[in-house]
């Protein structure tokens, strides 16, 4: 694995003036540690700012009361700091349904992401290292399915699931989330590149069965890719909006995404609902905080193993 300079060293560098004299600074500039470029840094930082701006706006406005939100400038704080009041109110509003939505989302995400990642690893391994009848057709169909628009599926899925009595239950969200064609594709590519066939053959010669070879030899080597697929499943299930929108009628089974939009629509629908934009914004912030925390903590594992070269080495 290539050495990644520690954050402390980077922070130390950025606080001082850029080192201008090649080869004469305190740190030697090598292929792995070239001179930092101010131009590149500024250009990358501008894009980083664009990525941060809406999130900063969200954090600032989650601290405002509804009155302040309507009256004050978007990027300035309001007259009163109402973040805590807003959070309390989010959990109280409509008999505390927000905590129910949060638990539902956690259920869908944890079960869905775990199962889909394991199925993708199993299938990707079969595609990369094993033969079976109809492999080419299978690949063609599954990869083709990545380009099928969600709506082409969602409406028939809804009718099919309604026929099976699965709508308005967690299964209507869980079963579709178990299948992640993109995850299968990633696992297939990673397995083909990162797991040496010779090692598998050796395990089999030593008497290990196929499943044991997969579990003991291949799966540990696939762990970095597994975390990547887990992350993508996690994000796509957490972000899923359309499927729960049509599958679930009972707000008690809603995930956060559908719930928040229901609150958002309260004010705009025919004017008979109270405007609760402060709650919409605060609940949006609460929705992305666990996601960002999970994302960043998963990213630590996953950055170190991102490069295929590192896995191979």
């Amino acid at each position: 694995m290539r050495p990644i300079s520690s954050p402390r060293a980077e922070a130390g560098n950025s606080s001082g003036a850029p080192i201008r004299r090649p080869g004469r600074g305190r740190r030697l500039h090598t292929v792995d540690n070239p001179r930092k470029s101010t131009t590149l840094t500024v250009m990358t930082a501008l894009f980083t700012l664009y990525c941060l701006l809406p999130l900063v706006w969200l954090v600032i406005n989650a601290t405002k009361s509804q009155a302040d939100f309507v009256s004050s400038f978007g990027l300035a704080p309001g007259r009163e700091f109402a973040l805590w009041d807003n959070i309390v109110e989010v959990f109280r509003y409509q008999d505390g349904i927000f905590s129910r939505w949060l638990l539902n989302t956690l259920l869908y995400v944890v079960v869905g992401a775990t199962v889909s990642t394991f199925l993708a690893a199993l299938g990707g391994y079969a595609l990369a290292k094993l033969d079976f009848t109809g492999k080419r057709v299978f690949l063609f169909v599954v990869l083709g399915s990545i380009s099928v628009p969600g709506i082409a599926l969602a409406i028939p899925q809804f009718l099919l699931f309604a026929h099976l009595g699965l709508t308005n239950t967690p299964w209507a969200i869980l079963i579709p989330s178990f299948i992640n064609p993109f995850g299968l594709y990633l696992m297939w590519v990673f397995t083909a590149e990162a797991v040496p066939t010779g090692l598998l053959e050796a395990a089999k010669i030593d008497g290990a069965g196929e499943f044991r070879t997969f579990l003991r030899i291949a799966l540990p080597m696939l762990a970095p890719a597994g975390v990547t697929v887990l992350l993508f499943s996690f994000v796509s299930i957490w972000n899923n909006y359309f499927l729960p929108l049509i599958m679930l009628k009972d707000p008690a089974w809603y995930p956060l995404t559908v719930g928040i939009n229901q609150w958002n629509k309260l004010g705009s629908s025919a004017g008979n609902g109270a405007l609760v934009q402060n709650l919409v914004i605060t609940s949006a912030l609460l929705t992305i905080v666990p996601l960002i925390v999970a994302f960043l903590s998963l990213q630590r594992y996953w950055q170190s193993g991102l490069s295929l070269g590192a896995i191979k080495g």
């Binding site: 009718l159 196929e210 914004i281 070269g309």
Partner: protein, 317 residues
């Protein structure tokens, strides 16, 4: 371990009689059966979630819901109607125009950022890499809410700007809404594509850079001769995924009208939004199913065309 043993597929237990008579090499036979066992759970669920619903959609597309007479079989009439439906083609034209402008801009930024971060010449590389990817983790509903408020003239920054300067800029006027949506989509997916490029760059053997340094190659020569060729495969993948994503556009135009009035977002703004409105508010499920299938066919055709072109170019190398 017990679990592992239980799932083991031994050659004797499952050999089909046909293969007994014409024995293939033992290893290959075992591989084939194990392969089927490994792929079976994914395959079975895949059929339930993808294949059966698509067949069902194809079946539904042959029927029409009529006020008088209920649901009747109409053959391919829905498809004929669709090809003459100006609202459908309006949506298709919009997503195609959107794709032609937004995807090249987004992928240019993704690639430039991946190259910049991989060069290790940027201060705070780790922080910026994480931050640029962060929007991908934000649900479309939240991102549409944020950008809708942020750009909106009622509560947002442009409202403040207009009041301060006496201007009349509206990012969600009918003529500019699509640009604002482009800003949201680029925000959400640049980091995702950057990461695909970044992973490809990380897979380049370090020895190549060292060899290039010994040969006295400068930064731009390294980018042109080593890094850009290494990105070719990822470029094909990102183009395909981006086209699929923009052709399916739904969340932003579905949520925006609840936030801003007069944004010009119609019920047929994108093909997917049209299909949703047909099925769930117009109760024309057969017509919606036909639309969805035609849109899927168009998307798959474009994706395969890009892939074949990409592969052909790669083989010319």
């Amino acid at each position: 371990m017990d679990l592992a043993r239980r799932f083991d597929v031994t050659p004797s237990a499952m050999a089909p009689p046909d293969e007994e008579r014409h024995p293939a090499p033992a290893g290959k036979r075992r591989k084939s059966r194990a392969g089927l066992a490994f792929i079976a759970p994914f395959g079975a669920l895949f059929a339930l979630v993808f294949i059966v619903p698509i067949l069902y959609a194809a079946y539904l597309s042959l029927f029409q819901d009529k006020l008088v007479g209920g649901t009747t079989f109409v053959g391919f009439a829905n498809y004929g109607k669709l090809f003459r439906d100006p609202q459908f083609w309006d949506g298709v034209g919009r997503v195609v125009r959107f794709t032609l402008v937004q995807v090249p801009i987004m992928l240019f930024f993704s690639m430039a950022l991946a190259l910049a971060l991989d060069s290790m010449r940027v201060h705070g590389t780790r922080f910026m890499r994480a931050t640029i990817f962060l929007p991908y983790a934000v649900p479309a509903i939240v991102s549409t809410l944020m950008w809708g408020f942020l750009l909106g003239v009622k509560y947002g920054l442009f409202g403040s700007l207009n009041r301060a300067l006496g201007t009349d800029i509206d990012p969600f006027a009918p003529g500019t809404t699509l640009i604002s949506i482009g800003l949201m989509v680029t925000w959400a997916f640049t980091g995702f594509n950057m990461l695909i490029f970044y992973a490809a760059l990380k897979a380049v053997p370090r020895e190549l850079y060292e060899a290039a340094a010994i040969d006295g190659a400068n930064e731009f020569q390294v980018v042109r001769a080593i890094k850009l060729p290494a990105l070719r495969g990822s470029l094909v993948v990102t183009i395909i995924f981006s086209i699929i994503g923009t052709f399916q556009m739904f969340n932003e135009p579905q949520i925006l009208p609840t936030m801003v009035a007069g944004s010009g977002v119609t019920t047929f703004y994108t093909p997917n939004l049209y299909a949703y409105n047909l099925a769930f508010t117009g109760s024309q499920q057969g017509y919606a199913a036909a639309l969805a299938l035609v849109m899927a066919a168009i998307t798959i055709a474009v994706a395969y065309a890009v892939q074949i072109r990409g592969l052909r170019n790669a083989s010319h190398q």
